[in-house]
């Protein structure tokens, strides 16, 4: 479990400081989908980058993030490099554009295995094919270049890379926001399968409330940097306790629609 307690992220410039995350406490367990929802500017991404310690230099991070007894807010940069990829891997909205255009997809997945796990070339290549198959990309895809893949296929290839080191957690920041609904369904099904079959914990950050309702076991609603509501999708859909949650629900037409 990743146990977040009273976490705050404050961006600082010479002129002013901007609090993006204000005292958030949240548990992200293994084998479950935890969704963080809210509007843009609500602090969702800052929370994610805070957990992975990928914030810009000078940003203030306070509170605690406990991962199996390791305190991430104070861990050395070296230990954080081990934590990322091997313990918690990140999939972002633009991840599909992070593939190198001049190398095959298989090479790029194998590279993660060689660099992170010290795997030998042949073994890494074979394993890369298996990893691509796990995200429903058939064997031939290892030899393809990114431009030969559709957006959804590229996003699935990036998920193959993210799960290459068998991380215990996947952190997905708007992983499907750039995709149409059918492609989104394919990518989400891939992520959820990692949770159900491999017992990974998935932290899914999205502004898409219906998506969170469809796939999450637990939802957390963020508003202006604070976590204003937490619960199961069924409970939040039926008895939202915070005004902002009700606003979000009605904005998505998820409550009785008012007016024409």
């Amino acid at each position: 479990m990743i146990a977040i307690r009273d976490l705050s992220v404050t961006y600082r410039t010479a002129a002013r400081s901007v609090p993006a995350v204000r005292g958030v406490s949240l548990d992200v367990p293994r084998g479950r989908v935890t969704a963080v929802v809210g509007e843009s500017g609500g602090g969702k991404s800052s929370l994610v980058y805070g957990i992975l310690r990928l914030l810009p230099p000078g940003t203030e991070l306070s509170g605690s993030i406990d991962f199996d007894g390791m305190e991430l807010t104070r861990a050395s940069e070296e230990r954080m490099r081990e934590f990322r990829w091997k313990k918690a891997a990140l999939v972002t909205q633009g991840a599909m554009n992070s593939l190198t255009p001049v190398l095959t997809v298989g090479y790029q997945v194998a590279e993660v295995l060689r660099v992170r796990l010290g795997m030998a070339g042949d073994e890494a290549r074979e394993r890369a094919v298996e990893l691509l198959a796990m995200t429903n990309l058939p064997a031939g895809y290892a030899r393809k270049y990114p431009h030969e893949l559709s957006g959804g296929e590229k996003q699935r290839a990036v998920i193959s890379m993210a799960v290459a080191c068998s991380p215990e957690f996947l952190v997905a920041d708007e992983p499907t926001s750039a995709l149409d609904v059918i492609t989104q369904a394919e990518v989400i099904a891939t992520l959820v399968r990692m949770v159900r079959e491999k017992g990974m914990g998935l932290l899914l950050v999205t502004h898409d409330l219906p998506l969170a309702f469809s796939v999450s076991d637990e939802m957390a609603v963020m508003h202006e940097g604070r976590l204003v509501e937490r619960g199961t999708p069924a409970r939040i859909a039926t008895y939202p306790s915070h005004d902002h949650t009700r606003t979000l629900l009605s904005a998505f037409g998820l409550t009785a629609r008012t007016g024409p």
């Binding site: 492609t183 859909a237 037409g253």
Partner: protein, 312 residues
């Protein structure tokens, strides 16, 4: 003749480049009546934007016809085309590309009125200010800000909507008009467009967001690879989709207590014919021939051999 604002028949548009041609529209049939809102829905590359642009004569049809406000575009002189377009509003997909970046928000919103020579500068500014306020940009301090420096994507999109509405169009063509709005503003923007359709404006809206289309449009046309594969009243298309592609779209839409299902994987299909056959779990040998869009029930058109047989 028929009083339709738009009627396309077998409309096809091809784009040519040194590396080959792409048929972006393949025989699309679309009608929009006054006071009616029609949403064309489909994934990226399905031809939605090309349909809107061809409807205004911004791209030339390679086959088929477009009747805009009762006039066949193929027979229009450029002068008549301009006057037809002035009776229409157009919200392009990219607000960064269509709102003049160096103007301030108020000048940008009033520019069409001044170009068309309708009313004095004062009247134009007053009208534009009213539209911006209606669109949630009511702060006069914001009006004086340059678009380029101070407006977010969502704000620029609302300025773009104000421009399109500034000449009180009879017919509005809107390409993803709420794509840059958050959920609350999206509902606001759609409510504003609906107020216009209730007063008789026709609306043709392109969107990949089927729930949005279903909630706000009277009718939905589902497009796939440049052709309309299903059309009908929003509620019936969403509640009882007849084309396998429409069914896949609806199965993939998330919601409360709804598990989203990706489409089944199917073997390769080397036969051509129906454009959806390569992805269709319900295809048969007959799909080697492309099915036409035909009525299967009152006010329901579907381009699928199986839907037609099932529908009878």
């Amino acid at each position: 003749m028929s009083g339709l604002l738009l009627s396309t028949k077998g409309l096809s548009v091809s784009f040519h480049s040194p590396r080959g041609s792409v048929e972006a529209l393949k025989g699309a049939d679309i009608d929009v009546a006054p006071g009616e809102s029609l949403a064309v829905v489909g994934e990226s590359g399905s031809g939605k934007t090309t349909l809107l642009r061809a409807s205004l004569g911004l791209v030339t049809a390679s086959a088929g016809s477009v009747a805009l406000l009762g006039r066949d575009l193929a027979r229009c002189e450029s002068k008549e085309l301009v006057s037809l377009r002035r009776r229409c509003g157009f919200i392009p997909q990219d607000p960064f590309g269509c709102v003049p970046p160096t103007l301030n928000a108020l000048d940008a919103a009033s520019e069409p009125i001044r170009i068309a020579g309708r009313g004095s500068r004062g009247e134009a500014l007053e009208k534009a200010g009213g539209l911006l306020s209606e669109l949630g940009l009511g702060d006069p301090a914001l009006w004086k800000e340059r678009v380029r420096l101070s407006l977010s994507g969502g704000q620029r999109q609302r300025v773009s909507i104000a421009r399109a509405l500034s000449l009180d169009p009879e017919f509005l063509l809107a390409d993803e008009p709420a794509s840059m709005q958050d959920a609350a503003n999206r509902a606001e923007v759609m409510a504003i467009l609906r107020r216009r359709t209730q007063k008789g404006m026709g609306l043709l809206m392109a969107t990949h967001d089927l729930p949005l289309a279903a909630a706000f449009a009277d009718r939905v046309a589902v497009m796939y690879k440049g052709a309309v594969v299903e059309a009908g009243p929003s509620e019936s298309v969403v509640g009882d989709p007849l084309h396998p592609y429409s069914r896949a779209l609806i199965a993939a839409i998330p919601g409360i207590g709804k598990e989203i299902r990706p489409p089944e994987r199917v073997e390769e299909w080397p036969f051509g014919g129906c454009p959806y056959a390569p992805r269709c779990p319900a295809r048969t040998g007959r799909c080697k021939e492309a099915p036409p869009l035909l009525p299967v029930a009152p006010d329901r058109d579907v381009a699928c051999w199986n839907a037609r047989e099932g529908g009878r």
